[in-house]
């Protein structure tokens, strides 16, 4: 499928093997009853990458991360982290992870809890440094169960960065944060990236993926449907959006077939008199519109954000029955609840 071009360095090497990919999924399947949460996932992350994992709810993001972290075992296929099992990579202190709403120990202070994470890490940093890096040095004496949502997220982040990890995995890290906190969080995160770490994060905020990630993975029905830079994904989805109004013809209709036949059109939507076209060459498309003798009014041509690109890609995947996807024609996966979510 459209998965990565897997050039592998093999599993045999030691955990410090430079050639080994940071993360490697091979033909991984995970079912929950009749639901295929992860379906034949092939994936490889290389050292130093900042990777965003996108997908609608129920696409299998959380399950994929659980598999990566060894919190679940795949039904078939293999998951390797630094050329070894997830559990061994974690025990070696190479992986730090921040789970979506992972619980925290109660009746202890922030400093005590982060101190615990440092104590358990084989390559730990001093507690003060971890607190400061996570921006929670001011609330060290506060009880963990008396924090705001954003503060809790920062405590989880501190726990995920308590030591010299080579890979940091973040599942929806900025959920529950306001805009300021979110910006501060990503500023902290960039510090981690600059230290040469590999970062994988799942997010719902597309602008975060656009701004932070140098590689974007789009997961749909448990399979990878896009893998590239944010720019590549946007280009693939049709880089431009063209909007104009048309007068109806004598039958009171707009000739949809003619519009669909325009060059470089990736997507078409007609609502009343308004025509919306996604095109990967707006100039060529518009030239052809005029050549048809049409007279478009209120013409607008705009660039496509990652958000629209993402929607376009996942909609396209939902329309075409993906061979890897389930036989049941659930076009409503975007709203289906992921079984793993609490």
């Amino acid at each position: 499928m459209t998965a990565t071009s897997a050039v592998t360095a093999g599993h045999g090497g030691g955990s410090a093997d430079r050639g080994a990919p940071v993360v490697s999924f091979r033909a991984v399947n995970k079912n929950f009853g009749a639901v295929r949460a992860v379906a034949g996932l092939d994936l490889e992350l290389r050292a130093g990458e900042t990777v965003a994992l996108l997908g609608p709810n129920g696409a299998g993001k959380s399950t994929a991360l659980d598999l990566l972290l060894g919190l679940r075992n795949p039904d078939s296929g293999s998951v390797a982290v630094f050329g070894t099992t997830p559990a061994k990579a974690i025990a070696a202190g190479r992986v730090g992870a921040m789970l979506q709403s992972g619980g925290l120990m109660e009746d202890v202070t922030v400093r005590e809890l982060v101190g615990l994470a440092c104590d358990l890490h084989p390559r730990a940093y001093p507690v003060d440094r971890v607190l400061k890096d996570a921006g929670i040095d001011g609330i060290g004496d506060r009880k963990v169960n008396k924090l705001s949502g954003g503060q809790e997220q920062r405590v989880r982040f501190a726990m995920a960065t308590a030591g010299a990890n080579d890979l940091i995995v973040l599942d929806e890290p900025t959920v529950g944060m306001d805009v300021t906190a979110r910006q501060a969080f990503w500023a902290t995160m960039r510090g981690q990236v600059e230290q040469g770490r590999t970062v994988l994060f799942a997010t719902h905020y597309l602008e975060e993926a656009d701004a932070i990630a140098d590689r974007v993975l789009v997961l749909h029905r448990g399979a990878l449907i896009a893998d590239g830079t944010a720019a590549e994904i946007k280009a693939r989805a049709g880089a431009r959006r063209i909007t104009f109004d048309l007068d109806a013809d004598r039958d009171g209709r707009i000739d949809e077939a003619a519009l669909r036949g325009l060059p470089r059109v990736v997507g078409l939507d007609i609502t009343g008199p308004t025509v919306r076209i996604r095109s990967d060459d707006a100039d060529a498309t518009m030239h052809a519109v005029y050549a048809l003798g049409l007279y478009p009014r209120n013409l607008e041509v705009s660039g496509l954000g990652l958000e629209q690109a993402f929607l376009a890609i996942t909609e396209a995947a939902a329309d075409t029955a993906t061979p890897a996807a389930t036989t049941t024609a659930t076009a409503v996966t975007a709203t289906a609840e992921e079984p793993g979510n609490r």
Binding site: L69, G70, L71, R72, N73, A87, I90, A91, A92, G93, V95, G96, A97, L99, S101, G102, G103, L104, M105, E106, D107, V108, E112, L113, G115, L116, A117, D119, L120, H121, P122, R156, M159, A160, G340, R342
Partner: protein, 246 residues
């Protein structure tokens, strides 16, 4: 791992309400049960006063309550909240988690045991040799670890909703067959034989052997050690193998 043990103990001590009930309850129960008892009356066929019998029984009962009930429910709740998942993303080995949980349970059980013994000596005039006091306390305390481990294991197989009923059931059966409420000698023979292989009976038998002035029987100690290994091993295994949504 040391920090985890310290933190588990610390947060148990901070939970004042839980501490209060777990620590004082067995002592009160001991006073109530023995309120009308003749202090010189011996148990049927045993050279031991009724009061002394119940003193050890209630110390054991209290310790069991504290460790079994406390652990099972708290762990089940922590699993549901995702804290155990978070902990599994650290390098902590399974035995570290179990050790920390047993240690925090032991923090609660020791004072509850001591209070019962102090009440026995001060209020109920139980007289034992100095070595008997010390070794009774230690034996009952050490034995409570078996039930703490059972509590961890239950907390791992059950959800928070059913952890309490399951641990209640285990605890009633074990306490009952251990002769904590009704003297063991009143049971029919077959039940005595069966109970002899359960940790509840071995637990009280160790304490009572000391009261008689004997060393605890090797069989009872073996039974306790086997159950401790079984429960703790199961708990540690469940901690690491728990790939369900914990």
């Amino acid at each position: 791992m040391k920090t985890l043990v310290e933190l588990e103990i610390l947060r148990t001590l901070r939970n004042r309400r839980f501490m209060f009930f777990s620590v004082l309850y067995p002592g009160l129960l001991f006073l109530i049960i023995t309120a009308g008892a003749d202090r010189t009356k011996k148990m049927d066929g045993l050279n031991l006063t009724v009061v002394a019998y119940y003193m050890v029984a209630m110390a054991a009962f209290g310790a069991m309550t504290a460790v079994l009930m406390g652990n099972a429910e708290r762990i089940a709740r922590e699993r549901e909240k995702g804290w155990v998942r978070q902990l599994r993303l650290t390098a902590l080995p399974g035995r570290g988690y179990v050790t920390a949980k047993i240690a925090s349970a032991a923090t609660v059980s020791l004072p509850s045991i001591l209070i019962v013994l102090v009440l026995g000596a001060a209020v109920k005039d139980v007289r034992l040799a100095a070595w008997q006091w010390v070794s009774t306390a230690l034996a009952v305390w050490a034995g409570s670890m078996v039930f703490a481990a059972l509590g961890v294991a239950i907390g791992y197989v059950a959800t928070a909703d059913v952890a309490r009923p399951i641990s209640m059931l285990c605890y009633f059966v074990l306490a009952m067959l251990g002769g904590l409420w009704v003297p063991f000698t009143t049971f029919p023979h077959w039940l005595q034989t069966l109970a002899g292989y359960l940790p509840g009976r071995a637990y009280t038998a160790v304490g009572q052997a000391i009261e008689f002035g004997d060393a605890p029987h090797a069989k009872d100690i073996t039974v306790l050690v086997v159950y401790l290994a079984l429960f703790a091993g199961t708990a540690a295994w469940l901690y690491r193998k728990d790939t369900r949504k914990a």
